[in-house]
Amino acid sequence: MLSTYAYPKYEYIQPPEQRSGETRRYPVVVVGAGPVGLAAAIELAQTGVPVVVLDDDDTVSVGSRGVCYAKRALEVLDRLGVGDDCVAKGVSWNVGRTFFREEEVYNFNLLPQPDFKRPGMINLQQYYLEEYEIKRARELPNLDLRFRNKVVSVAPDGSGATLQVETPDGIYSLETDWLIAADGARSAVRRMMNLEIDGKIFMDRFLIADVVMKADFPSERWFWFDPPFHPGQSVLLHRQADNVYRIDFQLGWQADPEEEKKPEKVIPRIKAMLGDDREFELEWVSVYTFQCRRMTEFRHGRVLFAGDAAHQVSPFGARGANSGLQDTDNLVWKLKLVLDGLAPQTLLDTYSQERVFAADENLMNSTRSTDFITPKSKTSLTFRNAVLSLARDHAFARALVNSGRLSVAAYLTDSRLNTADSAPFAGNMVPGAAMDDAPVREGARDGWLLDCVGTRFVALVYVSDPAGLDAATVQCLKELGQGGIPIEVLLVSPVGGLAHRGLRVLEDCAGRIAERYDCAPGTVYLIRPDQHVAARWRAFELESVKQALARATCNTH
């Protein structure tokens, strides 16, 4: 098999506990150096929290695995400092073709939405994402990344947890105030704590192959239902970095995984799909089954579960790694406030509540896709095929074709951290929404709205002209920056201008903020550190903003 990627081997270093023989206590330990655990650790370290990451392996994910990173995940990765690497290496596709039996029933072109920094999604092998995150993690002096450190026991107590960790030098103990379990679908932490994860296993198997094409092949997503080269099943093809194509073949439950993985079995399948004349080489092959399930709660005292350890979905719609990154997006600022004594521990219950809500939405969407792609009864298959038959000619049927609904951020509309609207607003930027991006100009510098917010609370205050603000209002706005949990005020204006009496000014240079946030002069948005809308008003009122901040941090009494 070919190899377009050289797997790094990260050096094992004897932990300080084993060098010194002393047990140490840390504020936060993360188990698992996959995309999710690393994201949590990087964001914690960047906000000043020392963190230890334990991983039983010493390299990155083998094979492409999670290949599709959607806009919201890229925005989170931007905050971690790895967004540019991922987007530079990843590939985008816009054209998707859907085939039913012999013919193409329709195609679509997902033209990128204008005036967003990041595209709707990129395709990138998971090992690249992990490599970039590890590179970033190692730049952070307060992030201690320990390879070949396998957690062999977890003893949680009211004030944290004690872990036993096995390394090539033996077993040592460490203590932590908080534990983040991001150790994947077969989470050892979850198992050692005897916690359930409920849901259903789908009685189906999929073969995934990474294939290197020798000649040009379009950057498109092709999805086949019941193709002649693989009757009765589905097949998906799309492009990743390095001219590697990912092919997913549905095999059915009866297939023998070991047999199906053999090159002499895989190659003829791919040849039948591509036509015999295209040259390719196999790079990696795997067979997988999947489950749709989640834990009842993602917080268990001082242990917080994130990513696949907490919830697993079918791969259709790319909701695994994408939702895991959003878990850490939601978790880290809350944990930071609790660690700093600025919010009660109940704030961490809202991590569980908000991410359970999102997980249920992901489970619902990915289960619907699975049911459409792999119908489980004759009637279900008949309806599916009827939709596909009508799709060529009729728009309503095309809208029902479900070969995966791309991961988008959940709108956390039911969150208790939201303050309900007191005035009407158009558009989607409701309390609980992840923010839409927009181009901005600050002074002479062009940038993006999302790069100006995050990690701290921000009040976006829309004004027709920053120079027209009276001194009393400026004084009130500045007061927001002086509380226990400071709120930074960003003036947003269609005319821009220089920083005004110590307040930053963002020019809404393309008018997208006014449009996407339905802003009029006086409109105020309170933004959480994870770039979600907490509250909004038509006019600024200091007391209302303070109350909304208290609500968004569980500081109401």
Partner: protein
């Protein structure tokens, strides 16, 4: 009235952030209706469903158009 062939699903009082959601809501309800039925039972359910919806639509010209499109290519 002519037969509407554009996406047309919605539910009163429900807000959608994604265009695919109302159609997916319907499709799930449709498949769920057939859960655990035999093929014969499902056929009967489908027949009843066509009759119920046809009466609701009422306009026989529209129904003839739908009948013809449904038969097309079969």
């Amino acid at each position: 009235m002519t037969l509407n062939l554009n996406p047309n699903f919605s539910e009163p009082g429900k807000r959608y952030f994604q265009t695919f959601s109302p159609g997916d809501d319907f499709y799930e309800a449709l498949i769920e209706t057939h859960r655990d039925l035999t093929d014969e039972q499902s056929n009967l359910v489908n027949a009843k469903l066509v009759l119920l919806l046809s009466n609701h639509i009422g306009d026989i010209a529209v129904l003839r158009e739908a009948l013809q499109l449904a038969r097309h290519g079969v």
